[in-house]
């Protein structure tokens, strides 16, 4: 048993928090769609991958600067979100949940395939114009890429929280999620808000794609970060932005602690499944997550 080193713990913790915020960003895309349309998007990881490809290819082939290629990825993903909603999801409105779930699983496969077809199977890089010198904060070294990623995540998480709580459009989206028929009777154009939700998920996915693509490199393995969305949203609650943040932080920290403390004993691998073990535990104890809305029962 190595003696307890608080420095090592601190490093794991800050790393976990950074990574966790970036998980939260991806989970936000998932939450936005679930909140507004009640659809579970299994293609969230593929959205992120696709956005990563867009940014990487724009920078590599067209020689665009980083910021422009990121903007292009955002624009492309908004268009993709709108398009997919119109072509794939809209005909499924009012169908059972399983139909939508299956459709998004199919969509995931299609996106993974077309990305390889269009952009090739090789790993591409996104280069963020920040220095490689880690930022020193006491004993902890923070890579600037992670700092930027965590910062972007925080800003957008705050932005969307405000949007849903205070803006009239956000309130209308929540009304649609609550009851589509009643929302329609109140003069809300439900379909427009469905499309808007997918477009917003596109924006968030594009940011996620750029941030994660910078860290991991862009190929179709990038879609695997999307799998981490599930423990995050189950922990936090499927329809809560706050939940996505807390869930993301927990998953990030648990992952890092598992890698730091458990892996040396068992020879590695716990990092990848520890969040899922936690997810299963949460499902048993509190299925709606920590911040998810409970069904209101009046007696």
């Amino acid at each position: 048993m190595p003696e307890f080193e608080w420095q090592f713990t601190l490093v794991l913790l800050t790393n976990g928090i950074m990574i966790g915020l970036m998980y939260a960003l991806i989970a936000l895309g998932f939450v936005l769609i679930y909140k507004a349309t009640d659809a579970i998007n299994f293609a969230q990881g593929e959205f992120v991958m696709f956005a990563g490809f867009l940014a990487a290819v724009a920078a590599e082939i067209a020689g665009m600067p980083f910021w422009l290629s990121s903007l292009l990825a955002i624009g492309g993903m908004v268009a993709l979100g709108f398009g997919l909603e119109r072509v794939v999801l809209r005909p499924l409105i009012g169908r059972p949940v399983i139909a939508v779930v299956m459709a998004t699983i199919g969509l995931a496969a299609v996106l993974r395939g077309t990305a390889v077809m269009a952009f090739g199977a090789g790993t591409r890089a996104i280069v963020m114009p920040v220095s490689d010198e880690p930022f020193e904060l006491g004993p902890v070294m923070l890579p600037p890429v992670q700092l930027v990623g965590a910062g972007v995540s925080l800003v957008f998480l705050a932005l969307f929280t405000w949007f849903f709580l205070k803006s009239r459009i956000g309130i209308a989206m929540r009304a649609v999620a609550d009851s589509q028929q009643v929302a329609m009777a109140m003069g809300i154009n439900v379909r427009r808000y469905f499309a808007l939700a997918w477009a917003m998920a596109g924006i968030v996915s594009a940011l996620g794609g750029v941030v994660w693509g910078t860290m991991l490199g862009v190929d179709n393995q990038l879609a695997l970060v999307g799998l981490k969305v599930f423990p995050v949203v189950i922990l936090g609650g499927l329809d809560s932005i706050m939940g996505a943040v807390i869930g993301g932080l927990i998953v990030g920290v648990v992952e890092n602690f598992a890698a730091g403390y458990l892996d040396p004993y068992v020879g590695g691998g716990t990092k990848d499944f520890a969040p899922y073990v936690l997810m299963i535990l949460v499902l048993m104890i509190r299925p709606e997550g920590m911040f998810g809305r409970r069904r209101i029962e009046r007696v």
């Binding site: 009851s179 028929q181 109140m186």
Partner: protein, 264 residues
């Protein structure tokens, strides 16, 4: 004036629900639509608000007009923009939204934020109980408060015509009295046109100016509310009174079911 002319509604392409319904709701009046379960009252309201389309129903014949402009081809949110709003039966509040947010969502068709604020104050003026609960989740309100909220929410769109579906359902008499007095006041003060669907005929005929009786997808009887109250068929079948006006007793030895005169 809201008018339905010979409206026929078919669900799923085969099920004929409304068989040529004509009725009109005079501006600034309360018009009530009476009838038993399944007579087609709610379908009539949905034909007006355009919500039929969400339930695979459609108006196959006739038309719905508001002041001469056709409504039956419009989508629900366009109908709301024209000034016609439907309040569903069963107090369908947005459960996970607060009272305030429910009202904001109800004002969705209005673009001016100042109008929304003014509308909210007016609703809270009409239903002071709601103001005390403005930041609570609507799902946790009492039944009466929820009914007030759905009516207030509908008023947020500043409608000319409000379609009320069974507002008295499952509420205590005192609460019903309060809600109906607000409706009457809105009619008097703001010239609101009300089309009221009710199973509680006594209540509806008391507040309404004009009434229609519906059976099996047809209008079978029509007249001023006062006249309908005196109609012996209405008394027998909807108010539970006998010819003399006293409560009907089922203890009488032989009970002959009166034949409805409008069937012949």
């Amino acid at each position: 004036m809201l008018a339905l002319n010979n409206v026929e509604v078919v669900y799923d392409g085969v099920i004929l629900v409304l068989k040529g319904v004509s009725l009109s709701a005079e501006e600034g009046h309360i018009t009530t639509l009476l009838g038993a379960n399944g007579a087609g009252k709610t379908t009539t309201l949905k034909a007006i608000s355009g919500l039929l389309k969400t339930e695979r129903g459609e108006v196959t014949k006739g038309n719905v007009e508001l002041d001469g402009e056709r409504l039956d081809r419009l989508l629900p949110f366009d109908v709301v923009k024209r000034g016609v709003v439907q309040v569903f039966e069963g107090r369908r509040v947005f459960e996970n939204l607060t009272v305030d947010e429910n009202l904001v969502a109800g004002a969705h068709s209005r673009s001016n934020t100042a109008d929304v604020k003014a509308g909210m104050e007016r609703v809270y003026g009409s239903f002071p109980v709601l103001k005390e609960r403005r930041s609570q989740s609507a799902g946790y309100l009492s039944g009466g408060e929820q009914q007030m909220l759905v009516i207030g929410r509908a008023l947020m769109s500043d409608p000319k015509v409000i379609l009320l579906d069974e507002p008295s359902l499952g509420l205590a008499p005192m609460v019903i009295e309060e809600i109906f007095s607000v409706i009457r006041r809105l009619k008097d003060e703001q010239k609101l046109t009300v089309l009221l669907v009710e199973q509680n005929a006594a209540l509806a005929l008391e507040i309404a100016d004009h009434g229609y009786v519906m059976e099996n997808g047809r209008i079978v009887l029509e007249g001023p509310a006062e006249q309908l109250r005196q109609n012996s068929d209405i008394k027998e079948f909807y108010l539970g009174l006998n010819e003399a006006g006293s409560r009907k007793s089922y203890r009488d030895t032989k009970h002959y079911r009166r034949r409805k005169r409008w069937l012949s």
